[in-house]
């Protein structure tokens, strides 16, 4: 009996201890639950942030793809591309105004994020401005500027019957003032389109000047980008003086110190061609033919250019998007000796004929004479359209290669709603989900829609080459100068 009583008494301390242990354990469980809830939230927030960066990486990849001339489509929702611990795919849609909308969907852990950008591809900072001057742009009396679109046909084909000009489409820009002369009706300057002076500039017009578009100043000045001069071995001086044996430069990349076309002689440049020349001189009575029918031509004059009065320029291809004449010459300081122009000016364009292309002289004054009918775009430190000059700005030139470096331009960036796809809706690790389906995400380098390349280029030894096939098989280090590239 006594032993039984003693046994009952022994349990009371255990109960008290158990209660204490239970309370502490309960607190512990509550703490663990709170902490795990906090951790879950934090993990979700971190995953969302990682998904955001994966989506941004996708946008960058697509952006660079656009700059290479690809569509911008990278992988798809069925087989996305892998990036770090996440996956992404980018959709690209060409919009009506020529821009491209890229939507990148990034997935990482339980995080999901979709971003979109609108990108203007192939925007040339210069050619889209039409006629552009870093300093005051002068339009003299009798000068007519209009615009057209060479992608729709030739100027003559688009000219309204019975009209002397297009009646619109001109674009004139300056970082400073734009001065248009003409107080007498019939002989005053005419601009069939917009005239935009610089942010602090004005459009100063004679009383009889006609401008059909806007004359509002631009919000910010545009810089004149530097010309990238190709590194080529020069073949020295070249004089073309035999009227019966015209010089033909075609399908190559070549450099000379001084190229002189004597009176009566002809120099014919056939594309694809890249010509670097320190001085280009066309003497009176000479002819310079720039034929872009078979491919584009880029001429880079590093020191001076003189197309003297009486010389002739012709462009049989009539395609302003395929010819670029880039003049890297610098305006001399006062008192400097003569350049090729003979009066100290490094750029003298006095030839007659037709010029279809892009004329660019970022460090010099460019005077366009009445004798040279101009189609395309032009930009210079200072632009002067001489009395009676006829200029037609080509809108297609804005999206053509200029020979100047540029990237696609970001127009807009915004967050978009997530796509309604199973991989997105299941808030599970996408890599695990894809593995369950037996899908291996693509490496980024293999995830672009376009995998084949058709490329025309000058190799590092200056020989024109063609390659068609898988991009993975192409050796990019062999490219000296790119002429044209197509992706498929």
């Amino acid at each position: 009996m006594s032993a039984e009583k003693s046994g009952r008494r022994r349990g009371s301390a255990l109960i008290a201890s158990l209660m204490v242990v239970l309370v502490v354990a309960g607190l512990g469980v509550a703490m663990v639950q709170v902490h795990s809830a906090v951790t879950r939230k934090q993990v979700r927030a971190i995953d969302t942030k990682r998904a955001f960066y994966v989506a941004e990486a996708g946008l960058s990849e697509a952006f660079m793809a656009l700059s290479y001339g690809k569509s911008g489509i990278v992988a798809d929702e069925d087989v996305p591309a892998r990036f770090g611990d996440g996956v992404y795919w980018v959709e690209a849609t060409e919009l009506a105004d020529g821009t491209v909308a890229l939507i990148s969907n990034g997935l990482c852990g339980s995080g999901r994020f979709s971003l979109a950008v609108v990108v203007a591809t192939e925007v040339s900072p210069m050619t889209e401005l039409g006629a552009f001057s870093g300093r005051t742009l002068t339009v003299h009396e009798g000068c007519v500027v209009d615009g057209y679109d060479s992608s729709l046909g030739t100027y003559a084909e688009q000219l309204p019957p019975g009209e002397g000009d297009m009646g619109g489409g001109a674009r004139i820009h300056s970082n400073s003032d734009v001065v248009l002369f003409g107080d007498r009706p019939g002989s005053a300057a005419t601009v069939q389109g917009d005239v935009h002076p610089g942010p602090d500039g004005q459009a100063l017009m004679g009383s009889a000047v006609l401008v059909t578009g806007s004359t509002a100043p631009v919000e910010s000045a545009a810089p004149l980008p530097a010309i990238e001069v190709p590194q080529l071995e020069s073949h020295g001086d070249l004089l073309i003086d035999d009227p019966d044996r015209p010089l033909v430069l075609a399908r190559q990349e070549v450099a000379y110190d001084r190229l002189t076309i004597a009176a009566g002689a002809t120099a014919r440049l056939d594309g694809p061609l890249i010509l670097r020349v320190a001085e280009l001189i066309a003497q009176p009575g000479s002819t310079l033919v720039l034929d872009t029918v078979a491919g584009p031509i880029t001429v880079i004059c590093t020191d001076s250019i003189a197309l003297h009065e009486g010389s002739k320029v012709s462009c049989p291809g009539q395609d302003p998007t395929s010819l670029a004449l880039l003049i890297d010459a610098h305006e001399p300081e006062q008192g400097d000796g003569d350049g090729a122009g003979g009066d100290g000016q490094p750029v003298r364009i006095e030839a007659s004929g037709d010029f279809y292309g892009f004329l660019y002289a970022p460090h010099a004054t460019l005077v366009l004479p009445a004798s040279l009918r101009f189609f395309g775009a032009l930009a210079a430190d200072r632009v002067v359209l001489a009395s009676g000059a006829r200029v037609s700005i080509d809108r297609a030139r804005a999206t053509a290669r200029t020979g100047l470096e540029h990237l696609p331009e970001l127009v807009a960036w915004h967050i978009v709603s997530l796509p309604d796809t199973p991989l997105v809706k299941l808030r599970l690790d996408p890599l695990g989900q894809l593995a369950l389906q037996g899908i291996t995400p693509l490496e980024t380098s293999l995830a672009h829609k376009e995998r084949n390349i058709n490329i025309k280029y000058f190799d590092t030894t200056g020989i024109l080459r063609l390659f068609t096939g898988a991009e993975a098989d192409f050796d990019w280090s062999a490219v000296g100068v790119l002429v044209a590239v197509d992706w498929s």
Partner: protein, 201 residues
């Protein structure tokens, strides 16, 4: 068989001596005190952990919201203009492009409301259709370690900045935010985050 009988007097004496009771009570007291201390410290640790976690979460969430809002905005339309530092920012979020033109959402504002210590997001501020949402509370008047004394106490290059501070530098915005709470024992918990974002538009 012989049985031993316990005398009645001896049965009456059965139990604890006073010494045993004292020792037992002392041990019990020590045990209870220990348990109490464990409970107190674990409760304090629990509260501190929960408070810090909540504060961290709130801070992360608010900063993420602010960062995304500013990233989506047009850098040229931000107000106040650089290089001012302020506890308020006005911006317009980009919605995309239509006919080649940037489409912007209604004007929005993120501000620190002094007194209530709230970060408030407002759509159409001071205009018809104004909409206000409190993104977080517990924002002190000044950033952590900063005092209103005309000096840069927290050594971050800004003087007397608020608990929410925007510092504009071109299209880049530095965002600083402190959240601060007190528990029942008047212990202060403060968390600060700083980030720099670039307006994408």
């Amino acid at each position: 068989m012989k049985t031993t009988r316990v005398p009645a007097a001896a049965r009456a004496r059965a139990g604890f001596t006073i010494l045993e009771l004292v020792i037992g009570l002392v041990i019990l007291g020590l045990l209870l005190a220990n348990v109490g201390m464990v409970l107190r410290s674990s409760t304090a640790a629990f509260e501190a952990g929960a408070l810090s976690g909540a504060l961290e979460n709130q801070l992360e969430q608010t900063m993420d919201r602010i960062e995304l809002a500013i990233m989506s905005s047009d850098g040229e339309d931000l107000a106040p203009s650089a290089p001012l530092s302020a506890s308020i920012i006005d911006y317009e979020r980009c919605l995309g492009v239509e006919d080649g033109e940037l489409v912007l959402d209604d004007p929005e504002r993120i501000e620190l409301v002094l007194g209530s210590g709230q970060v408030v997001w407002t759509q159409n501020p001071e205009a018809a259709g104004e909409r206000r949402v409190v993104w977080t509370r517990w924002v002190p008047e000044y950033l952590e370690l900063e005092l209103p004394n005309g000096a840069d106490d927290n050594d971050n290059g800004v003087i007397d900045e608020g608990g929410l501070a925007f510092d504009l530098d071109g299209k880049q915005v530095s965002i600083r935010l402190t959240l601060e709470r007190e528990d029942e024992r008047s212990t202060r918990y403060a968390r600060t985050r700083e980030s720099r974002v670039t307006c994408r538009n």
